[in-house]
Protein backbone atom coordinates (compact mmCIF):
# COMPACT_ATOMS: atom_id res chain seq x y z
CA UNK A 1 0.00 0.00 0.00
CA UNK A 2 1.69 3.27 -1.05
CA UNK A 3 2.19 5.94 1.57
CA UNK A 4 2.50 9.69 1.32
CA UNK A 5 6.05 10.94 0.95
CA UNK A 6 5.89 12.81 4.25
CA UNK A 7 4.88 9.67 6.14
CA UNK A 8 7.60 7.57 4.57
CA UNK A 9 10.18 10.27 5.33
CA UNK A 10 9.07 10.56 8.94
CA UNK A 11 9.11 6.80 9.31
CA UNK A 12 12.69 6.76 8.10
CA UNK A 13 13.55 9.53 10.57
CA UNK A 14 14.83 11.93 7.93
CA UNK A 15 14.39 15.68 7.75
CA UNK A 16 13.43 17.45 4.54
CA UNK A 17 16.96 18.88 4.38
CA UNK A 18 18.52 15.45 4.64
CA UNK A 19 16.21 13.97 2.02
CA UNK A 20 16.86 16.90 -0.31
CA UNK A 21 20.64 16.52 -0.04
CA UNK A 22 20.42 12.76 -0.42
CA UNK A 23 18.04 12.70 -3.37
CA UNK A 24 19.28 15.84 -5.10
CA UNK A 25 15.78 17.31 -5.24
CA UNK A 26 15.31 20.87 -4.03
CA UNK A 27 13.64 21.51 -0.68
CA UNK A 28 10.94 23.65 -2.30
CA UNK A 29 10.01 20.83 -4.66
CA UNK A 30 9.96 18.32 -1.81
CA UNK A 31 7.64 20.53 0.20
CA UNK A 32 5.35 20.84 -2.82
CA UNK A 33 5.37 17.03 -3.16
CA UNK A 34 4.63 16.53 0.52
CA UNK A 35 1.79 19.07 0.52
CA UNK A 36 0.23 17.29 -2.46
CA UNK A 37 0.50 20.48 -4.52
CA UNK A 38 2.42 18.67 -7.24
CA UNK A 39 2.56 15.10 -8.51
CA UNK A 40 5.95 13.44 -8.07
CA UNK A 41 7.62 13.00 -11.44
CA UNK A 42 8.72 9.43 -12.28
CA UNK A 43 12.40 10.50 -12.22
CA UNK A 44 12.07 12.10 -8.79
CA UNK A 45 10.07 9.15 -7.56
CA UNK A 46 12.96 6.87 -8.44
CA UNK A 47 15.41 9.19 -6.69
CA UNK A 48 13.26 9.46 -3.59
CA UNK A 49 12.74 5.70 -3.35
CA UNK A 50 16.48 5.22 -3.61
CA UNK A 51 17.18 7.87 -0.99
CA UNK A 52 14.61 6.44 1.40
CA UNK A 53 15.52 2.77 0.79
CA UNK A 54 12.01 1.85 -0.28
CA UNK A 55 10.39 0.65 -3.48
CA UNK A 56 8.96 3.16 -5.89
CA UNK A 57 5.49 1.75 -5.41
CA UNK A 58 5.76 2.36 -1.62
CA UNK A 59 5.50 6.13 -2.26
CA UNK A 60 2.24 7.71 -3.28
CA UNK A 61 2.99 9.87 -6.34
CA UNK A 62 0.52 12.48 -5.19
CA UNK A 63 0.36 13.00 -1.49
CA UNK A 64 -2.92 13.75 0.14
CA UNK A 65 -3.16 17.44 1.05
CA UNK A 66 -2.01 18.35 4.55
CA UNK A 67 -4.64 19.36 7.07
CA UNK A 68 -4.55 23.10 7.79
CA UNK A 69 -2.56 24.05 10.90
CA UNK A 70 -4.61 24.67 14.04
CA UNK A 71 -5.52 28.36 14.18
CA UNK A 72 -4.71 30.53 17.20
CA UNK A 73 -7.59 31.59 19.38
CA UNK A 74 -8.50 35.18 18.46
CA UNK A 75 -7.30 37.92 20.81
CA UNK A 76 -9.85 39.36 23.10
CA UNK A 77 -10.67 42.86 22.07
CA UNK A 78 -9.73 45.38 24.80
CA UNK A 79 -12.40 48.05 25.20
CA UNK A 80 -11.15 51.58 24.73
CA UNK A 81 -9.91 53.13 27.96
CA UNK A 82 -9.75 49.83 29.73
CA UNK A 83 -6.50 49.27 31.67
CA UNK A 84 -3.87 47.09 30.14
CA UNK A 85 -3.75 43.68 31.60
CA UNK A 86 -0.84 43.60 33.94
CA UNK A 87 2.20 41.71 32.79
CA UNK A 88 3.44 38.91 34.89
CA UNK A 89 5.59 40.40 37.57
CA UNK A 90 9.32 40.10 37.40
CA UNK A 91 11.06 37.88 39.79
CA UNK A 92 12.13 39.65 42.94
CA UNK A 93 15.84 40.55 42.75
CA UNK A 94 17.96 37.93 44.31
CA UNK A 95 20.10 38.84 47.22
CA UNK A 96 23.67 39.68 46.28
CA UNK A 97 26.08 36.94 47.00
CA UNK A 98 28.83 37.90 49.39
CA UNK A 99 32.16 38.50 47.57
CA UNK A 100 34.34 35.40 47.39
CA UNK A 101 36.89 35.00 50.09
CA UNK A 102 40.30 36.25 48.97
CA UNK A 103 42.70 33.41 48.29
CA UNK A 104 45.19 32.72 51.06
CA UNK A 105 48.87 33.48 50.59
CA UNK A 106 50.90 30.82 48.85
CA UNK A 107 53.49 28.91 50.83
CA UNK A 108 56.17 30.21 48.52
CA UNK A 109 55.11 33.81 49.24
CA UNK A 110 55.42 33.21 52.99
CA UNK A 111 58.79 31.50 52.57
CA UNK A 112 60.03 34.39 50.43
CA UNK A 113 58.78 36.88 52.98
CA UNK A 114 60.65 35.12 55.78
CA UNK A 115 63.82 35.11 53.66
CA UNK A 116 63.48 38.82 53.03
CA UNK A 117 62.93 39.77 56.67
CA UNK A 118 65.95 37.67 57.66
CA UNK A 119 68.08 40.44 56.05
CA UNK A 120 66.93 42.72 58.87
CA UNK A 121 67.20 40.14 61.62
CA UNK A 122 63.42 39.98 62.00
CA UNK A 123 61.98 36.64 63.10
CA UNK A 124 58.50 35.33 62.40
CA UNK A 125 56.99 36.65 65.62
CA UNK A 126 58.30 40.16 65.01
CA UNK A 127 57.10 39.98 61.44
CA UNK A 128 53.62 38.94 62.52
CA UNK A 129 53.58 41.85 64.96
CA UNK A 130 54.48 44.23 62.10
CA UNK A 131 51.98 42.69 59.71
CA UNK A 132 49.27 42.66 62.37
CA UNK A 133 48.14 39.05 61.94
CA UNK A 134 49.56 35.53 61.85
CA UNK A 135 51.31 34.73 58.61
CA UNK A 136 48.90 31.88 58.00
CA UNK A 137 46.04 34.38 57.74
CA UNK A 138 47.67 36.57 55.14
CA UNK A 139 45.87 36.79 51.82
CA UNK A 140 47.72 36.44 48.55
CA UNK A 141 47.38 40.16 47.90
CA UNK A 142 48.70 41.09 51.35
CA UNK A 143 51.63 38.72 51.00
CA UNK A 144 52.46 40.35 47.67
CA UNK A 145 52.36 43.77 49.32
CA UNK A 146 54.67 42.78 52.18
CA UNK A 147 57.11 41.03 49.87
CA UNK A 148 57.34 44.18 47.77
CA UNK A 149 57.71 46.29 50.87
CA UNK A 150 60.71 44.36 52.18
CA UNK A 151 62.29 44.07 48.74
CA UNK A 152 62.19 47.85 48.40
CA UNK A 153 63.74 48.23 51.86
CA UNK A 154 66.58 45.91 50.89
CA UNK A 155 67.13 47.83 47.66
CA UNK A 156 67.25 51.12 49.56
CA UNK A 157 69.83 49.83 52.01
CA UNK A 158 72.10 48.45 49.30
CA UNK A 159 75.16 50.62 48.80
CA UNK A 160 75.11 52.50 45.49
CA UNK A 161 77.10 50.96 42.71
CA UNK A 162 80.44 52.57 42.21
CA UNK A 163 81.16 53.78 38.73
CA UNK A 164 83.83 51.58 37.18
CA UNK A 165 86.54 53.40 35.37
CA UNK A 166 86.71 51.40 32.22
CA UNK A 167 89.28 52.50 29.76
CA UNK A 168 89.98 50.86 26.53
CA UNK A 169 93.45 50.80 25.15
CA UNK A 170 93.77 52.98 22.10
CA UNK A 171 94.51 50.61 19.28
CA UNK A 172 95.15 52.51 16.09
CA UNK A 173 94.62 49.48 13.91
CA UNK A 174 91.58 51.03 12.30
CA UNK A 175 93.44 54.04 10.90
CA UNK A 176 96.52 54.49 8.82
CA UNK A 177 97.20 57.99 10.10
CA UNK A 178 100.72 57.37 11.42
CA UNK A 179 102.15 56.14 8.16
CA UNK A 180 100.42 58.86 6.19
CA UNK A 181 101.73 61.49 8.63
CA UNK A 182 105.25 60.08 8.21
CA UNK A 183 104.97 60.21 4.41
CA UNK A 184 103.56 63.73 4.57
CA UNK A 185 106.49 64.80 6.69
CA UNK A 186 109.00 63.26 4.29
CA UNK A 187 107.25 64.75 1.29
CA UNK A 188 107.32 68.23 2.80
CA UNK A 189 110.99 67.83 3.72
CA UNK A 190 111.76 66.63 0.20
CA UNK A 191 113.62 63.69 1.67
CA UNK A 192 114.45 60.70 -0.48
CA UNK A 193 113.16 57.32 0.71
CA UNK A 194 114.64 53.95 0.02
CA UNK A 195 112.07 51.23 -0.71
CA UNK A 196 112.65 47.47 -0.57
CA UNK A 197 110.19 45.29 -2.44
CA UNK A 198 109.29 41.63 -1.99
CA UNK A 199 110.90 40.67 -5.27
CA UNK A 200 114.22 42.08 -4.04
CA UNK A 201 114.18 45.24 -6.11
CA UNK A 202 114.89 48.57 -4.45
CA UNK A 203 113.79 52.06 -5.40
CA UNK A 204 114.91 55.42 -4.14
CA UNK A 205 113.30 58.76 -4.62
CA UNK A 206 111.43 61.68 -3.15
CA UNK A 207 107.78 61.21 -2.32
CA UNK A 208 105.53 63.11 -4.69
CA UNK A 209 102.24 61.57 -3.68
CA UNK A 210 100.67 58.76 -1.70
CA UNK A 211 97.39 57.10 -0.92
CA UNK A 212 96.46 54.25 1.46
CA UNK A 213 97.46 51.79 -1.28
CA UNK A 214 100.20 53.42 -3.31
CA UNK A 215 103.23 55.67 -3.01
CA UNK A 216 104.57 57.66 -5.93
CA UNK A 217 108.23 58.68 -5.90
CA UNK A 218 110.44 60.66 -8.20
CA UNK A 219 113.81 59.07 -8.78
CA UNK A 220 117.03 61.02 -9.11
CA UNK A 221 116.74 60.77 -12.89
CA UNK A 222 113.36 62.48 -12.78
CA UNK A 223 111.30 59.35 -13.46
CA UNK A 224 108.15 58.95 -11.41
CA UNK A 225 107.30 55.49 -10.18
CA UNK A 226 104.15 54.41 -8.38
CA UNK A 227 104.74 51.60 -5.93
CA UNK A 228 101.91 49.38 -4.74
CA UNK A 229 102.14 49.13 -0.95
CA UNK A 230 101.38 45.45 -1.12
CA UNK A 231 104.66 44.99 -2.97
CA UNK A 232 106.70 46.91 -0.37
CA UNK A 233 108.45 45.19 2.52
CA UNK A 234 109.77 48.31 4.21
CA UNK A 235 111.22 51.71 3.51
CA UNK A 236 113.36 54.25 5.27
CA UNK A 237 115.14 57.48 4.62
CA UNK A 238 117.74 57.03 1.91
CA UNK A 239 121.31 56.77 3.07
CA UNK A 240 120.63 54.42 5.94
CA UNK A 241 121.78 50.84 5.81
CA UNK A 242 119.75 48.03 7.27
CA UNK A 243 121.84 47.99 10.42
CA UNK A 244 119.21 46.28 12.54
CA UNK A 245 118.65 43.54 10.04
CA UNK A 246 120.08 40.26 11.19
Amino acid sequence: MPEDLRKVRNRKGMSVNQLASKSGISIATLIQYEKGEQRISPVDLRRLAKALYVNEWDINPRSSPLPPPPSRPPREERPAGAPRPSRPQKKPPQEKKPPPKPPPARDTQIAHLLTLVAHFGIDQAALEAEVGKPLGELTRKEARFWNGHFMRRIAEERPPKQAIDRRRAYLPEGVDGFELAYLQEQQEAGAALHFTLFDGRTFEGAVVGFSPYQITIREAGGDEITLNKLAIVYYRKAGGVAGGVE
Binding site: E173, E179, Y234, Y235, K237, A242, G243
Partner: protein
Protein backbone atom coordinates in the same frame (compact mmCIF):
# COMPACT_ATOMS: atom_id res chain seq x y z
CA UNK B 1 101.23 38.02 8.09
CA UNK B 2 97.57 37.43 8.77
CA UNK B 3 95.38 35.25 6.63
CA UNK B 4 93.74 38.36 5.22
CA UNK B 5 97.08 39.89 4.27
CA UNK B 6 98.26 36.60 2.80
CA UNK B 7 95.10 36.40 0.67
CA UNK B 8 95.58 39.98 -0.50
CA UNK B 9 99.18 39.18 -1.29
CA UNK B 10 98.26 36.02 -3.19
CA UNK B 11 95.55 37.83 -5.12
CA UNK B 12 97.93 40.62 -6.05
CA UNK B 13 100.39 38.10 -7.47
CA UNK B 14 97.59 36.12 -9.12
CA UNK B 15 96.38 38.56 -11.76
CA UNK B 16 94.91 40.84 -9.06
CA UNK B 17 91.47 39.46 -9.85
CA UNK B 18 88.10 40.73 -8.78
CA UNK B 19 86.98 39.31 -5.43
CA UNK B 20 83.47 38.40 -6.57
CA UNK B 21 84.85 36.77 -9.69
CA UNK B 22 87.28 34.67 -7.65
CA UNK B 23 84.55 33.70 -5.19
CA UNK B 24 82.44 32.59 -8.14
CA UNK B 25 85.26 30.53 -9.60
CA UNK B 26 86.07 28.87 -6.29
CA UNK B 27 82.43 28.33 -5.41
CA UNK B 28 82.33 30.38 -2.23
CA UNK B 29 79.49 32.41 -0.83
CA UNK B 30 79.64 36.04 -1.97
CA UNK B 31 81.56 38.12 0.55
CA UNK B 32 83.60 35.26 2.01
CA UNK B 33 86.91 36.44 0.62
CA UNK B 34 86.13 40.08 1.25
CA UNK B 35 85.40 39.25 4.87
CA UNK B 36 88.64 37.31 5.21
CA UNK B 37 90.75 40.02 3.62
CA UNK B 38 89.34 42.78 5.78
CA UNK B 39 88.93 41.28 9.22
CA UNK B 40 91.30 42.12 12.04
CA UNK B 41 90.17 39.22 14.13
CA UNK B 42 90.90 35.57 13.51
CA UNK B 43 89.06 34.32 10.42
CA UNK B 44 89.02 31.26 8.19
CA UNK B 45 87.92 28.67 10.72
CA UNK B 46 86.36 26.47 8.05
CA UNK B 47 89.14 24.27 6.68
CA UNK B 48 86.98 23.21 3.75
CA UNK B 49 86.77 26.80 2.57
CA UNK B 50 90.49 27.27 3.17
CA UNK B 51 91.22 24.15 1.13
CA UNK B 52 89.24 25.54 -1.81
CA UNK B 53 91.10 28.84 -1.62
CA UNK B 54 94.46 27.07 -1.29
CA UNK B 55 93.67 25.01 -4.39
CA UNK B 56 92.73 28.12 -6.34
CA UNK B 57 95.94 29.96 -5.46
CA UNK B 58 97.95 26.76 -5.74
CA UNK B 59 99.42 26.93 -2.24
CA UNK B 60 99.42 24.28 0.49
CA UNK B 61 96.50 24.36 2.91
CA UNK B 62 99.02 24.43 5.78
CA UNK B 63 100.26 27.80 4.57
CA UNK B 64 96.84 29.37 4.95
CA UNK B 65 96.35 27.65 8.31
CA UNK B 66 99.70 29.06 9.44
CA UNK B 67 98.59 32.58 8.54
CA UNK B 68 95.23 32.04 10.17
CA UNK B 69 97.03 31.73 13.50
CA UNK B 70 98.81 35.06 12.91
CA UNK B 71 95.77 37.31 12.73
CA UNK B 72 96.07 41.09 12.73
CA UNK B 73 94.71 41.61 16.23
CA UNK B 74 97.48 39.41 17.56
CA UNK B 75 100.14 41.49 15.81
CA UNK B 76 98.42 44.66 17.01
CA UNK B 77 98.60 43.40 20.57
CA UNK B 78 102.31 42.62 20.22
CA UNK B 79 103.04 46.03 18.68
CA UNK B 80 101.01 47.78 21.35
CA UNK B 81 102.70 45.91 24.16
CA UNK B 82 106.16 46.49 22.68
CA UNK B 83 105.54 50.18 22.22
CA UNK B 84 104.04 50.70 25.68
CA UNK B 85 106.80 48.83 27.45
CA UNK B 86 109.51 50.23 25.15
CA UNK B 87 110.98 46.79 24.85
CA UNK B 88 112.81 45.45 21.85
CA UNK B 89 110.56 43.73 19.38
CA UNK B 90 111.51 41.11 16.86
CA UNK B 91 109.88 40.42 13.53
CA UNK B 92 110.50 37.71 10.97
CA UNK B 93 109.80 39.04 7.52
CA UNK B 94 108.48 37.19 4.52
CA UNK B 95 111.74 37.92 2.76
CA UNK B 96 113.60 35.86 5.33
CA UNK B 97 115.06 38.88 7.12
CA UNK B 98 114.73 39.48 10.86
CA UNK B 99 114.19 42.99 12.16
CA UNK B 100 114.91 43.87 15.77
CA UNK B 101 114.09 47.26 17.20
CA UNK B 102 111.75 49.45 19.17
CA UNK B 103 108.27 50.18 17.93
CA UNK B 104 107.71 53.93 17.72
CA UNK B 105 104.27 53.92 16.18
CA UNK B 106 101.94 51.52 14.49
CA UNK B 107 98.68 51.66 12.62
CA UNK B 108 96.47 49.86 10.18
CA UNK B 109 99.05 49.22 7.49
CA UNK B 110 102.54 49.69 8.89
CA UNK B 111 104.69 50.37 11.92
CA UNK B 112 107.72 52.50 12.55
CA UNK B 113 110.67 50.52 13.89
CA UNK B 114 113.76 52.12 15.35
CA UNK B 115 116.57 49.72 14.64
CA UNK B 116 119.17 51.53 16.73
CA UNK B 117 122.71 52.50 15.84
CA UNK B 118 121.58 55.88 14.54
CA UNK B 119 119.67 54.33 11.71
CA UNK B 120 116.65 56.23 10.39
CA UNK B 121 113.22 54.95 11.26
CA UNK B 122 112.25 51.95 9.19
CA UNK B 123 108.63 51.80 8.11
CA UNK B 124 107.71 48.13 7.91
CA UNK B 125 104.53 47.08 6.13
CA UNK B 126 102.46 44.86 8.38
CA UNK B 127 101.78 42.42 5.57
CA UNK B 128 105.53 41.81 5.32
CA UNK B 129 105.68 40.38 8.84
CA UNK B 130 105.57 36.63 8.74
CA UNK B 131 106.08 35.87 12.41
CA UNK B 132 106.74 37.40 15.81
CA UNK B 133 107.51 35.92 19.24
CA UNK B 134 103.97 35.87 20.64
CA UNK B 135 102.31 34.97 17.36
CA UNK B 136 101.24 31.48 18.26
CA UNK B 137 100.27 32.19 21.87
CA UNK B 138 96.47 32.12 22.14
Amino acid sequence: MSLGDELRYLRAFHDNGNLQQIEGEIGLKPGTLLCMEQRYRRVGEDDEVLAKIAAYYDVPLETLQYHRERYRKALSAYLHQAMESETTARFELRTGESLVGKVRWWDLGAFGLELGGGEPLTVVQRHAVLDWPTANVR
